[in-house]
Symmetry: none
């Protein structure tokens, strides 16, 4: 899905980029602290070192800032993950492990933004929401693809349904670290959280291997469940 274009009075695209970045950085801080609605455009302008009126040379409405926020968030996740996975040469479930680890690390770095994402999506206009949901779908597909390829390399075949759910689970487990950090961090560090969560995940896949790949074999214990 193509980005929603935000028209501006200003034409100089370099300046637009620069100032929008300022606006965004200020917004993230403020949104995290007080939420989108409690944050005023004046505060954003001040925090972005711009004059009150200037903001409106780079956006059309406060709404746009929220959209810009989501757009930037997805861009960031994409860039960071692709970056980190570039030289990764793992295969099979090891690649999955690797991906989850990198993904969780990314979320940890942007946990503020992730929490905001959960809080404020309802404030998006329909147009902007559609873009965000499309982006989310793209990311699910991306994860599904990684999973699919990796699992196949280990000779495991799973149904489309399960693949889909596993992908969604990974993504949500990442978000969880952000939005349930207040309680998870009492028990886990990012590392231990990643390890335990991944172990469980891999175990469920291997479970799958047994049940699905080889249905004629005598399945142990599980048949009774």
């Amino acid at each position: 899905m193509k980005k929603v274009n935000i028209s501006t009075k200003t034409k100089d695209s370099k300046k637009i980029k620069h100032h929008r970045k300022q606006i965004l950085e200020a917004s993230i801080m403020l949104f995290k602290e007080k939420g989108y609605h409690q944050t005023t455009t004046r505060e954003i302008a001040k925090s972005a070192n711009m004059s009150y009126g200037s903001i409106y040379d780079y956006i059309n409405s406060k709404d746009d800032i929220l959209y810009l926020f989501y757009e930037a968030l997805y861009d960031q996740i994409n860039v960071m993950i692709i970056e980190k996975l570039r030289n990764n040469e793992c295969k099979g479930l090891l690649r999955v492990r690797s991906f989850v680890k990198e993904y969780f690390m990314v979320i940890d770095e942007i946990s503020n933004e992730t929490s905001i994402m959960y809080s404020e999506s309802r404030s998006l206009s329909e147009l902007h929401l559609n873009y965000v949901l499309a982006k989310e779908n793209e990311f699910v597909d991306y994860v599904k693809n990684i999973l699919h390829v990796s699992i196949q390399e280990d000779g495991i075949f799973i149904s489309e349904d399960k693949l889909s759910l596993l992908a969604n689970n990974i993504i949500v487990h990442g978000h969880m670290w952000a939005f349930r950090g207040w309680t998870l961090k009492k028990t886990f560090t990012l590392e231990s959280y990643t390890k335990v969560q991944t172990d469980l995940f891999i175990d469920s896949i291997i479970g799958l291997k047994n049940t699905e790949v080889n249905e004629v074999e005598t399945v142990e214990t599980k048949s009774s469940i």
Copy 2:
């Protein structure tokens, strides 16, 4: 944690209950549609078939409505689950299956409320937020306990960490059905979602059984992962 008391001008506790229910039902509809901040007290009053000033006979501020919402939500979850599990005589992992099924069904019934819960927790005042977090902790403990007992009955022992994470996962997987319903429902019905999610979950526990319970045994395949 004790409920935060909300004083009222009116004394008649029957009326209070009745009107608060009206206010809540109206609010849920509106919050779901537009979020807490976009919903005005006038809209709530109108939608609750009350006069404009009357809602302030039953609450003290708009804030209270949000708190009432969270309070009711947790009460509802507790009541519904306890109700449903009352005559359950399953043991072991079957009990876990059963619990997850009932829990997901509850969430499905109150998926609107669950989504709102995720969006609006930031809008709670600190006092009210503390109550909500305490309630959430209580629920995690409740799930941990079910898991612990059930797993033991099947002769599986797992670390406190894993137990904690599994409980959190179950809870979040329930919420997921609400807040990611927009995409999950393209692939799953509640039943299929429950089945697949539970299968994965049980598999990960059985995986645990192999790795943790019997460490001296030669662990298959997994060690290489």
Copy 3:
């Protein structure tokens, strides 16, 4: 000027009297503490041990309460002063001394009411304000008359203008004790305030005697007065 009649739903005049008294007593307390506008009818009702709606069986509007307050205040002043002066047999300037003393004592007893009188007269409706001003004029005349008679008895004659001003001064000096009590009470007790204020007052009258009545005479002993 005749009292402004306040119509009521209730006819039983005994009850009216009783309940209005309750309302007034509650109001004085509350008006002193928070002023007329900050005091709600609910508070008055509660403080008067009546139900919210009942108040409106004895008055027509919150405005009426304020009027009732002023009416009662003037009645009280009249009654109290007449009561106290009944058996007074002083003559001449001694009668003035006596009157001032009694008047200041009355004001001291109702200093709360007096302060309220000053604060809230602007809140009276025009109709009610006219009644109050008429009452005030009556009181000025009453004081002028006392002065006139008393001074004449001592063989002092003063112009109508001066008489008028002296009467107003006495009245305002009484009020002063109420509305400037916050500072006067740092220096004076009611007794010392009365003494010093009266001494000054008598001296100014005796001054008048000299200047106006008989410029060449020497002044007699004031100490006896």
Copy 4:
């Protein structure tokens, strides 16, 4: 006592001064007519020829307007009186006469404000009230000082108590002209009020001279004062 600072959104101090003046002038008119509580911020804005929200660029709350009013009132009294007494070269009781005359003239010019001062002091917040009372005390001291010096120059010595009361009396007699103008103006012009009031005042001081300083002396001619 230092002025209570009222923060503004706007920085331009010239504009602040200008707009606050507008607000104040509008407020005085409206407060005089209807009192502080009956006057709405909307009315003030309209009457001050400002847009509705704009007044909140120059004040923080309706309360501030009242405070600004009192502050301006005291400033005005100080400035006007000092201005008028600058070139006054009278001595003794003549200086007192002169001061009273100027003071009454000032009050007459700001009689609306003076009446408002009496009605609305209860509406001030505690912080602001304290400032006002401190200012009032300062003014009492100022008047006491003038009296003290002037009287001494004429060889009259009076007790601290009497001095204090005389100062308070002068001040209240000024206020009286404002808050009892509705009746005093039926009998007096400012000039005649001033003359009669001052004559009485001087007589009471001369009375003091006789009683306190030298009880046996004969009284000299007052007519020259």
